[in-house]
């Protein structure tokens, strides 16, 4: 039995994608989703598992029709899906009334339920969110009921407010595979048995790293899975070390170079680190430099050697000021205050 496991597609979301790509980004989520469905057809995948948050918010009827249209074209693949916290089954949700194509099997109940696909000798277990949050660890007590040769759990959650998940409990649950959703970073929870497919496309600027889906096969009681990068774009958080010889323009050039290296299609956040020339000022708006820069965080410290400055100014205000921040931890608010204050003092120096 060969399957593809996707999660957190977030159709309808409008992810931040810089001035260059923000406009077309919502469509790209649909495109990639449609491409995964086409891939299922092409590979004659037996089962497509969707582990929640197919939609970013409540699905509109026309959106459900579009999704079902894509599913209806599958000649071989069975589709099983649950609703996650984002597209949870509200009282007035179209999920409750929509009639799906024959090959689509929603597990939309709020209590554990299962479905047996006789021709695949496979049972899929799961339930859906009826609210935005579920605090109880509701997957911990669940175990496979031996309804078919292959048993799969479709689950969504794994943080404090969305069904905390205990990897050890999953290990003992007796499922052949647990297809997880909710955490956007693809990761294995129990080796060869439980994994997050991660968001199909990254939908938040903090969804860094590769995104895609999990392709798997269960045969003879053995599950093999592999992650397949599939997303069109990637969020990259890069650090750039600035030294005191660098000018604003040279920093900008370095950034453009890094973007070129990693691909113009990706979305960037740069953190400038190190010691900059105290006189250096970045004046340009970064999105004007390149439309795929989302943010530049300036964590540089003016190239002051606090120990040396303190030594030189033992007897005056600067020394005393530095002393007053003794033992402060880099990156803390005190550290920031230290840098700002010393810079102000240094810049006003010789003002008399």
């Amino acid at each position: 039995m060969r399957f593809i496991h996707i999660a957190d597609v977030h159709l309808g979301a409008e992810p931040e994608a810089g001035t260059a790509y923000s406009k077309r980004r919502p469509d790209e989520l649909w495109e990639t989703f449609s491409e995964v469905v086409s891939l299922c057809e092409q590979e004659q995948t037996d089962l497509l598992l969707i582990a929640g948050d197919l939609f970013h918010r409540q699905p509109l009827l026309r959106e459900l029709k579009e999704v079902d249209y894509l599913f209806s074209k599958l000649t071989h693949t069975e589709v099983v899906l649950i609703a996650g916290n984002h597209d949870h089954i509200r009282k007035d949700s179209y999920y409750r009334t929509f009639s799906w194509s024959e090959n689509v099997h929603p597990l939309f109940g709020n209590r554990p339920q299962y479905l047996v696909l006789e021709h695949l000798d496979t049972a899929v277990y799961g339930f859906s969110y009826e609210a935005k949050e579920i605090l109880e660890p509701r997957y911990d007590g669940l175990c496979a009921q031996k309804k078919a040769g292959i048993e799969i759990l479709l689950a969504h959650g794994g943080d404090e407010k969305h069904i905390p998940i205990n990897g050890n409990a999953l290990k003992r649950s007796g499922f052949d595979y647990v297809a997880l959703g909710h955490i956007h970073k693809p990761q294995i929870v129990v080796k060869g048995m439980a994994a997050y497919a991660g968001a199909l496309e990254p939908t938040d600027k903090n969804d860094t790293g590769k995104h895609g889906f999990i392709r798997g096969e269960i045969r003879g009681g053995e599950t093999r899975i592999s992650f397949v990068p599939f997303a069109k774009r990637e969020y990259l958080h890069l650090a750039l070390n600035v030294d005191k010889m660098m000018t604003a323009r040279s920093v900008m050039d370095r950034i453009l170079e890094m973007i070129k290296e990693r691909g113009a299609e990706n979305l960037y956040k740069f953190t400038l680190k190190g010691f900059r020339d105290p006189e250096l000022i970045f004046e340009r708006e970064w999105d004007e430099v390149s439309g795929n820069i989302l943010e530049i965080v300036d964590e540089t410290v003016p190239a002051y050697d606090f120990r040396k400055i303190r030594e030189e100014n033992r007897s005056n205000l600067i020394g005393r000021y530095i002393e007053s921040f003794e033992d402060c931890v880099p990156e803390s608010i005190e550290w920031q205050a230290l840098c700002e204050g010393v810079q102000a003092l240094m810049e006003s120096r010789g003002g008399m």
Binding site: G12, R57, Q58, P59, L60, L61, R62, D92, S93, Y94, E295, V297, E311, E312, N313, S315, N316, L317, I318, R320, Y321, E323, S324, F325, I333, E334, Q336, A337, L338, E340, G341, Q343, A344, L345, E347, S348, R349, G350, G351, M352
Partner: protein
């Protein structure tokens, strides 16, 4: 540190000029335009180097100001000095082509490296700005629009709070404020961008609400319409029933039905009757045969019973095998034949049918609109959820909050440190400056007070005098005392003190006292003056 010789090889207006400093106290006398400031610039250039400025600023920076008038590519000088009991020779070339610095210990010939900070070490870590602000002292000059007393108070206050003549506390606090304003501006920009998004979402919600309202109104209208049509239909149905009832008596169709009914019952009755008669006949024959002639009677009776049986069976078939509706199924045909007679009621039926269709269509329309309405409501809910998310401040905005907090914290620490400074350093400075002042003024002003970092006053003959009431000369003497005291407190390495026209407002007596005090200092003192007084007084020592 003591400077022994300056050799201005080619610097400003000077070419191959030697100046020697044999004693601890040295006066360089020169009228205006003599080149005193050039010599001062030369000392600084020798100690700290002289870099050519970049860009526009280069036009009138120190480098170009003292570029030699003749042969500018030979821009150089030499200085001999003593430091820590050792003698050094420092030679520098400032011009672009020969730029170099050479420091040699003349006692043992050891070559030191200016580049690696050996000179800096000899100077005890003092930088050019510090040197200018502490060791080089000119006259106290007031800023335009400010009197000298206020200037002195500013200077003293800053000195007390910063422990340095070069640190500007209020300037630093002002810079922090400017930074905070910049950060707030940035934050506002982010907020405005967010608000613009919010407005866009609100507009979308407004649009969906308008749509919702329109749909609701259309549904209400359609419902009203539907109610009217249904009323019409009810009325039509009622009328039709009424008509049916009145027609039933003369309706050819019902008459036909009645006739058929009668026929059928008659037929059934006939069959039943025939069967019973035949059976009865058979029994009669049987009885008469048994009484008269046995064999013929038996045959006759058998025939009779058989016939009776057939008759009964026939009746049974007719009554079981032909259900009543089978008959009715043929009815529409009969009705067809009589279309001409039915013109009136037929038009009614067509009307009713049209009415029926209108009702159906209305219902369908309402259903469609309701489904549209639901879609809009889901969309509206989604947009409202999005709005709530957009109303939350972004991480970038929160980060700037943190920067603002840091700036505030920096300000607090700076003020606290300044406070602690004036408590500790201020007290020392006060004491030492008071001693110097007392000596220069021959004990007339015994004690200096700086209070709250603002009010400056002196104690004189049991009275306390605010700075505003002192003469210019006295104010300058207080300034001098403060600077001397600060220099003593701050730098261990005794760097040379350079006084540039510092005594022009002093009377003879106080100048003498000041020079006397200076001559007793361990550090080298170089006085630039355009008056002969200093030179003459020193000769008398």
């Amino acid at each position: 540190m003591r400077i022994r010789e300056l050799h201005l090889m080619n610097f400003g207006k000077f070419t191959d000029t030697h100046i020697y400093f044999p004693g601890q106290l040295h006066v360089i006398f020169g009228e205006n335009e003599y080149g005193k400031s050039t010599i001062y610039a030369f000392i600084k250039a020798m100690l700290f180097g002289l870099e050519r400025g970049k860009g526009r600023a280069a036009k009138n920076d120190t480098f170009s100001r003292y570029e030699p008038w003749e042969n500018p590519n030979y821009y150089a000088g030499m200085m001999r000095f003593t430091c820590g009991g050792r003698n050094f020779r420092l030679e520098r070339h400032f011009d672009r082509y020969h730029k170099s610095a050479e420091l040699i210990c003349e006692d043992d010939g050891e070559e030191l490296s200016v580049e690696n900070g050996d000179l800096e070490m000899l100077l005890g870590g003092i930088g050019e700005a510090s040197f200018e602000n502490t060791a080089a002292i000119g006259r106290l000059s007031a800023k335009p629009g400010q009197d000298l007393a206020a200037e002195l108070k500013n200077f003293a206050a800053n000195y007390y709070e910063t422990g340095s003549g070069e640190i500007d506390l209020s300037g630093a606090l002002e810079r922090l404020k400017i930074r905070a304003r910049e950060v707030q501006r940035e934050q506002k920009k982010l907020q405005e961008a967010r608000e613009q998004k919010i407005r866009k979402t609100e507009d979308r919600i407004g649009y969906v609400e308008d749509e919702t309202e329109r749909l609701q109104k259309e549904i209400a209208d359609a419902r009203e319409h539907l109610a009217a049509e249904e009323e019409k239909r009810r009325a039509a149905v009622y009328r039709a029933e009424q008509e049916k009832n009145t027609q039933q008596r003369e309706d050819p169709r019902s008459r036909e039905r009645q006739m058929a009914e009668q026929k059928r019952t008659a037929r059934q009755r006939t069959a039943k009757r025939a069967g019973s008669i035949l059976a009865l006949l058979g029994i009669l024959l049987l009885l008469s045969g048994w009484m008269l002639h046995f064999p013929t009677a038996v045959i006759g009776a058998a025939v009779g019973i058989f016939a009776g049986g057939i008759g009964c069976l026939l009746w049974g078939y007719l009554s079981l095998g032909c259900p009543s509706d089978a008959w009715e199924r043929t009815y529409p045909k009969a009705a067809e034949q009589k279309t001409e007679e039915q013109k009136e009621p037929d038009r009614d039926a067509a009307d009713r049918e049209a009415l029926e269709e209108r009702v159906y269509k209305l219902k369908w329309k309402i259903e469609q609109k309701q489904s549209d309405l639901k879609e809009k409501q889901v969309l509206k809910n989604n947009l409202e959820e999005q709005l709530r998310e957009e109303e939350m401040r972004s991480s970038a905005e929160k980060k700037l909050d943190r920067t603002l907090d840091a700036l505030e914290l920096a300000g607090e620490h700076l003020k606290d440190a300044a406070h602690g400074m004036s408590d500790r350093f201020g007290e020392q400075l006060n004491r030492h400056a008071s001693e110097i002042l007392s000596e220069i003024t021959d004990g007339k002003y015994g004690r200096l007070f700086v209070e709250d970092g603002l009010e400056l006053s002196v104690y004189s003959e049991g009275k306390r005098l605010p700075a505003e009431r002192l003469s210019r000369g006295t104010i300058e003497q207080i300034y001098f005392s403060l600077r001397m005291a600060a220099l003593d407190l701050m730098y261990e390495e005794e760097i040379p003190l350079i006084l540039d026209d510092a005594f022009s407002s002093y009377d003879e007596k106080r100048l003498k006292s000041a020079l006397k005090w200076l001559s007793r200092q361990p550090r080298q003192v170089i006085i630039f003056s355009c008056q002969k007084r200093e030179e003459e007084i020193i000769k008398m020592f």
